[in-house]
């Protein structure tokens, strides 16, 4: 593999790093308008511990890195329950249905970025990790090294925007990417696509303070389409519509459909 290093801004904007699909170029990606969506950020957690590959959304071991000690193989499938004393799973209690009694609802894992916020300060150090085997219900303690997230060589601490090379293998950052041609685009609810897809568009507020507008998934809408938030399946963009005609999605600017 030839070594090519884009130096200036225009080179960086057009160079497609090995392993990345065309959609990761700013000119081709939805991220040309919405920076941050050029890769699935969750993938940076997969290799946060040297030797293991974790699930991008759950603290669970999915595979072992090539250079890892053989005994790490026994951890595949196990849940990571604590790191350096910080719990990654928390008990959940509450009503199962509206008005029902408060009860234990099991455990839920914390989102990686929150769960590991303190651990990132220990990049390069070893931390005590506790794994739990759901089958045997045995716990195992292992010392793991925390990887650096950013490549800070030659850059003042805290100012690098470059992800460390060993944090992801080629192509991994774009795995599970939310793209218009993938189901996630339709499934994501409020906030995730907030910049590009406010879920309530063309809204108008009348003199009495009542607001009416369109569901962002309302297809074939025009300025004349009656302003109500339709949830009828027949009104909404289907998965197939998205796969076949994603490029026909319009931008919403200032809360209104672009002309």
């Amino acid at each position: 593999m030839n070594k090519i290093e884009p130096k200036n801004v225009s080179a960086q904007l057009t160079y497609r790093a090995r392993g990345n699909p065309p959609s990761t170029l700013p000119v081709a990606a939805i991220s040309n308008c919405f920076p941050g969506l050029e890769f699935d950020f969750r993938n940076i957690w997969r290799r946060i511990f040297v030797g293991l590959v974790m699930h991008e959304a759950r603290p669970q071991v999915v595979e072992v890195e090539e250079e890892a000690p053989d005994e790490f193989q026994t951890l595949v499938g196990e849940l990571l329950v604590s790191v350096d004393g910080e719990q990654l799973w928390v008990p959940v209690t509450g009503p199962e249905a509206a008005g029902g009694p408060v009860q234990s609802l099991g455990f839920s894992n914390l989102e990686w970025a929150n769960a590991l916020a303190n651990i990132l300060q220990k990049a390069g150090e070893q931390v005590q990790c506790v794994f739990f085997d759901p089958d045997s219900r045995q716990a195992t303690e292992v010392l793991l090294q925390v990887r650096r997230v950013f490549d800070e060589e030659g850059t003042p601490v805290g100012e690098s925007g470059v992800l460390a090379r060993d944090l992801a293998q080629p192509g991994e950052l774009t795995q599970s990417l939310c793209s218009p041609w993938q189901n996630d685009y339709r499934e994501c609810a409020c906030y995730y696509w907030a910049a590009s897809r406010p879920d309530f568009v063309n809204s108008e507020t009348d003199a009495g303070g009542q607001t009416a507008g369109h569901n962002w998934l309302h297809k074939d809408r025009t300025p004349d389409t009656p302003k109500f938030y339709s949830l009828r399946q027949s009104d909404m963009v289907s998965y197939e519509d998205l796969f076949r005609n994603w490029e026909q999605l319009r931008f919403v600017i200032g809360g209104k459909d672009e002309e």
Binding site: K7, L13, T14, G154, E159
Partner: protein, 483 residues
Amino acid sequence: MNDNRPQRPAFLKPGTRDPEPGTWKPLIPQPARVPQVHLFQAGGKPHLLVADGTRVFGVDREVFERLDQASSRGDRAEVKRLLQQFGLDAPPFVTDAPPESFPVRALSLAVAQKCNLGCTYCYAQEGDFGGTARNMPLEIARQSVQRLFEEAAPGERVQLAFLGGEPLVNRPVLREATHHAVALGREAGVDVGFSITTNGTLLTSEDGEFFERHGFAVTVSLDGVAEAHDRLRPFKDGRGSFEHILRRVRPLLKMQKRMQVSARVTVTPRNLLLRPALDGLIELGFHSVGFSPMLSSPSGCGQMQPEDLQAMLRQMIDCANECERRTAAGERYPFANLLTALQEIHRGTHRPYPCGAGGGYLGVSAQGDLFACHRFVDDQSGAMGNLREGLDRHSQAQWLARRHVHRQEPCRSCWARYLCGGGCHHEVIHRGRPACDYIRGWLDHCLKAYVRLLDRRPELFSSLRPSSPVFSAPSAVQSRPAP
């Protein structure tokens, strides 16, 4: 004195110059082998400039050598294939199609087509552009300012430049036009930047206060320090002007905060010692100092010949090395030519034109006629209508089509075309392109300096913006030094 036969600069040792006509060799051979790429070594490592998009890459030996071999043969098809193979191809950044029209974003007003200096090489022929010496009437200045705001939307920025001749000959109109622009800008929510290019002989402290209040970019034409300047820019009676100018500029240098006072040196065969000029002018406190070779003068006087350009290139590289050394050490050494080039290379600036002339930038003559820029005043080859009847869109469209770098030779086959843009329209139309080797040699050096500085001080480029103390350079429309 007719300086078509240039004096040999004393700093050049015998043997380092003085070749027979036609046998001189470029200081750094930079032949335009293929138009797509330029290969260079910097910091001991191989690098590649892909011309389209001005993209700079560090590459390994194999990439370098294969591209080098193909470009040595002039094999454009193979270079194209290799760029694809290495993932370095991209959709074209610059197409053949000229822009259909430009909104006018900058106007220069020839408020005084007259001058009190007698510079032999002056493109304006000592101020009157070869015609009748005249001042711009206030009404023409007011109409010009109104024209500038016609196409500007709230939040946008426009530039108003005062040139001549010597613009301070017509100080009342300059001031009134400035006030009018401030008022219109406030009314329209449009930001307006001001600049003036002056010979400095008429400056007063009151001018300084006025320029400071309105944040002017003030460019003073100085061709060196002391005698070096006096040789080229005497008063019409032959007296030297340097000390006189200095007395008038010093108060402005002290008061510059919003205002930026820069020096612009026109380089002729008679002032080829650039480093003393640069150091001397920086020491005086100029915000930046830039050099431009005199490539075309109406009389032919002072025009640089190929061997002069080689001497200038050596001097520019000497200045650039000092600037690179000081910049790497965190010092401010405002050599505008290098700092501007570094900014543009870092961004990947790629232009199908050398400047905005005839596009977003127009010059207005004292009589209210519109021209491609301040240099074309009263020159029919750059005429573009007038204030009364409006911009001649047809002439502008023809200009933009004809002047596109893809239509220029030998630019079409040159790797430097998008950094250079084809050279100053005025100089090219009147003299041609005598400076291509100089420009390529200079850009080659700037590319190397960029890579070295990026490796040593990457943080300098993370803050590349006008407010950056290291990189700040004059913002006036016409004060971008030639490459």
